[in-house]
């Protein structure tokens, strides 16, 4: 005999009736599932939001930039630190060598930085980043002066005290005045302002407009030669980033006079390394949180199983009556499965509502764009209905296999 809609309807009817009769018990049982859903959906959404945010921010570093530095960006062990900490500085000559011989880079830019208080007449502004660089900075950072101009090769070569200031410095220190042509005092020396950079915004929480660019030659003269340079190279195209890394490595080894077999005493870094670090971090986060979510759902599932076993026991006699009147195993099975799916779907629904509330809250108090995406919700629903089935299956099949005579005799 085929499965009939009549049997199906009776299953749904019985399940709803049973849930209505035990309203409080059902709601309490769903609590575990509810918590599981909230944990899973919120966690997935937060991680997704964080991914969007971090990748977005990191990509502003430029995927086609390669950095030659004294140290690697990631030092993963104490031994590694002991090995690299004695490395020699990267000097002006190294930069000049790279700039001269590199073929795969559109621009090679030195970068050296410090944080200082800058002054204009009686006004001062603390914590400004002072960068020593060249005019190629405009290429590597993809930013142009909004007013005035950048300093030239000639000014770099002759170590002129000139600078270009960031948008925020101009705004705070010069207010409504035009800073171009005015003086600014940095580290006890007076600089002439040639231009103001266009507004660049923030990376993470860090302003990229609170800075002053000066020729790196001047920087080394004013702030000391002991500083090591960072060299940034922008690849001709994103496809040659790998080759550019190899080229820079080789050139730098030549500049340093390293022999074959000797370890490089510098590092070639790129943005994707940061992404890798971030991904490694979130991988751990994922594992931990998925663990928590699974435990919550497991506890919820066991709660359902428990309550379903109670329900089967309570209704043993009813099952006996139904079987005596011709209910087959699958009808009884279905009846109890519907009930456990109902319970778990109540938990899912409430859980998703709460998750949406939490996501809205996180979005308001943090820069992370948390959204409960439809697929997360569907995943939650699918997952939890499976839990309803999985944990309902044992009690339901226990009910379905009851011996009718014993069930009828049950008090």
């Amino acid at each position: 005999m085929k499965y009939s809609w009549t049997e199906f309807g009776e299953g749904v009817r019985i399940a709803t009736q049973a849930l209505k009769a035990n309203r409080l018990r059902s709601v309490l049982t769903t609590l575990g599932i509810l918590i599981g859903v909230v944990v899973v959906t919120v966690i997935i959404s937060v991680i997704q939001g964080m991914n969007t945010y971090v990748t977005g921010e990191l990509s502003s570093l430029g995927t086609d930039n390669v950095f030659v530095s004294r140290y690697p960006w990631m030092i993963t062990s104490w031994e590694e630190w002991l090995r690299v900490r004695k490395r020699p500085r990267i000097e002006k000559e190294h930069f000049e060598f790279l700039e001269k011989y590199v073929t795969l880079a559109e621009a090679v830019v030195p970068e050296v930085a410090t944080r200082r208080t800058v002054k204009y007449r009686t006004e001062d502004l603390g914590g400004v980043f002072i960068y020593g660089t060249t005019d190629k900075y405009m290429v590597s950072s993809n930013a142009m002066p909004e007013f005035g101009r950048f300093f030239t090769d000639n000014e770099i070569h002759h170590r002129r005290n000139v600078c270009v200031i960031g948008w925020e410095v101009a705004d705070k220190l010069y207010k409504n005045k035009d800073p171009v042509g005015k003086r600014i005092k940095i580290g006890g020396q007076s600089f002439r302002i040639l231009g103001v950079m266009e507004k660049r915004g923030q990376m993470f929480d860090f302003s990229m407009d609170n800075n002053v660019m000066i020729p790196y030659t001047v920087f080394l003269k004013v702030f000391g030669k002991h500083r090591s340079l960072d060299i940034q190279a922008k690849a001709l195209s994103p496809e040659v980033v790998g080759e550019l890394k190899d080229e820079l490595e080789a050139l730098m080894r030549r500049a340093r006079g390293l022999r074959v077999g000797e370890e490089s005493d510098f590092s070639v870094n790129e943005q994707s390394q940061l992404l890798e670090v971030y991904n490694n971090l979130t991988k751990v986060l994922w594992i931990v949180l998925i663990g928590i979510g699974s435990i919550a759902l497991l506890v919820g599932g066991i709660g359902i199983m428990n309550i379903m076993l109670v329900s089967v026991t309570e209704r043993t006699r009813e099952i006996g009556i139904r079987k005596a009147l011709g209910a087959k195993r699958r009808v009884i099975l279905w009846q109890f499965l519907v009930e456990s799916m109902f319970i778990s779907s109540i938990g899912v629904t409430l859980g998703i509502l709460i998750s949406i509330g939490l996501a809205t809250l996180v979005k308001q108090v943090s820069p992370i764009p948390v959204n409960i995406s439809a697929w997360v919700a569907f995943l939650g629903i699918g997952f939890t209905i499976s839990i309803g089935i999985f944990f309902g299956l044992y009690p339901a099949s226990k009910a379905a296999r009851l011996n009718p005579i014993e069930a009828l005799r049950y008090e």
Binding site: E318, L325, K328
Partner: protein, 225 residues
């Protein structure tokens, strides 16, 4: 022959001990017979009824019901046979407490897939037949004992089964309501139904045409009246 039992044995195992509830039962029952099964407590009456009702299978022997051998059928096949061929009336009514009289009577129809449009009509008809046309929406706890048993009778006959099996149907009723139920069986029998009932009261058994007396799992006497 409607019912043919050949060498039916039923053993129960309680730990190491074996209880021979039925020992070699041979029994034929024809259509439209009215049979009473009697015997002292523990003689195997209920065990026999359960076998006849396809609620259980025998340890040995064959049972043919309407020509088909049901001795070795599985759970689901037996459920189908019960639904189609048998109407049960129990001593303790066995109604669903949360369902209305109408829904209780509808249950056998639900399990053979009768569409709901026909179900209500058939159930209402059966309830009217047992004199409860005006109590259809009542729940069992809103009905008297006699009325509950009449709902059970309506449920037993709604599917037009071959046999109505009643295990001490008047056991929980006072004499007067018990008589009412027996009158109902009388009417059903006159209408062509086959009725088998278990009782230990002689005056109840007197309604029947044939009395089968059991003792220790044997048929002690089988006499027409």
């Amino acid at each position: 022959m409607m019912i043919e039992l050949k060498d039916i044995k039923k053993d129960y195992h309680l730990g190491l001990e074996t209880v021979h509830a039925l020992r070699s039962i041979n029994l034929n029952i024809d259509e439209n017979e009215y049979v009473a099964i009697m015997g002292p407590s523990g003689s195997g009456k209920s065990t026999l009824m359960n076998l006849l009702g396809c609620l259980d299978t025998a340890t040995e022997g064959t049972y043919c019901l309407n020509g088909s051998d049901v001795s070795d059928m599985n759970d689901d096949n037996l459920a189908e046979i019960r639904n189609r061929e048998i109407g049960f009336v129990f001593q303790n009514f066995n109604l669903l407490p949360r369902a209305s009289a109408l829904h209780n009577v509808e249950l056998p129809l639900i399990y053979n897939g009768t569409p709901s449009s026909q179900r209500h009509g058939l159930a209402a008809e059966a309830l009217t037949k047992v004199g409860l046309g005006d109590r259809m929406q009542h729940r069992p706890n809103e009905l008297s004992g006699g009325q509950r048993q009449r709902v059970a009778v309506a449920r037993a006959l709604v599917n037009n089964p071959s046999i109505i099996l009643a295990d001490e149907p008047t056991g929980n009723l006072d004499t007067r309501t018990g008589d009412e139920i027996m009158d109902l069986f009388e009417t059903l029998h006159d209408g062509g139904n086959t009725i088998i009932l278990v009782t230990h009261e002689e005056y109840i058994a007197e309604h029947s045409d044939r009395i089968i007396r059991l003792r220790d799992g044997h048929i002690e006497r089988d006499e027409a009246r």
